[in-house]
Amino acid sequence: MHIPDGFLAPEVAAVCAVPAIGAVGYGLRRASRDLDERRVPLLGVTAAFVFAVQMLNFPVAGGTSGHFLGAGLAAILLGPWMACLVMSVVLVTQSFVFADGGITALGANIFNMGVIGALLVGGLMLLAQRVLPNKRGAFLAVAGVGAWLAVVAGALACSFELAISGTVPLGTVLPAMLGVHVLIGVGEAVITVAAVSAVLSTRPDVVKVMA
């Protein structure tokens, strides 16, 4: 879902950059305030895992593929704000080093694939923790549903950005984007649940929203 240069109007790109910069800035503040020494490597580990798994495109339907985004997983491990920071590290590297995702679209890509999913899943997990404490199955179910929602919400935002930019009518792009991303979201949910489950079995103390 990496938007390349040329798809967005400059005004739309600029408006999307505002919440992206805000969330990353706040993520830096939270990292400086809340991160305990033991968890410092976890920002690097999460960025590395998200980057690597994003490379693993899986086939969805009729000659189309999808890949993991990872904002939900990052939010579960690090909390929503540091997740925004980690996602921006991944997306900035992909754009500048791998020319994957436009430089002018970086704010939109951080917003669509990072901020939206991190805040959505982070919020849902905090809610789940209050309503269903200490229930591993319920915790994983909420993680999966949240991961799916994060992908669909990102595709929704991306569609609106393209339509407002005048690139493609909303009535054309929205059903097409949602149609493919409801499937890609299933892959996101499976990977997120598998990763969270593996971490809970090995190092449950690493999972931020459980701590």
Binding site: A52, M55, V89, V90
Partner: protein, 83 residues
């Protein structure tokens, strides 16, 4: 935490180098929609990547770059607090 870090980064490097060659090369959701709905040509002249994902080096280098960046940022902002 040290062993968790080493194992997790090794897993990430393994996925990015050994598994990524068998990943689907079909266009992803947005790329496919752009082609189907006729706005793919709006993309600006594609930039040449410094490193290609296709190169074996790509997944290896990229994974280590983001690990170092994430770790480095966390280390620096924490240091600022305690300094």
């Amino acid at each position: 935490m040290k062993w968790f870090t080493i194992l997790a980064v090794a897993l990430a490097v393994g996925l990015a180098t050994a598994v990524s060659p068998i990943a689907s090369s079909a266009p992803d959701g947005l790329t496919r929609v752009a082609a189907d709905k006729g706005f793919a040509a709006r993309e600006s002249q594609p930039r040449t990547p410094l490193i290609g994902y296709g190169a074996l080096l790509g997944g290896f280098a990229g994974t280590l770059i983001v690990f170092a960046a994430g770790y480095g940022i966390a280390r620096v902002v924490r240091h600022e607090r305690t300094a």
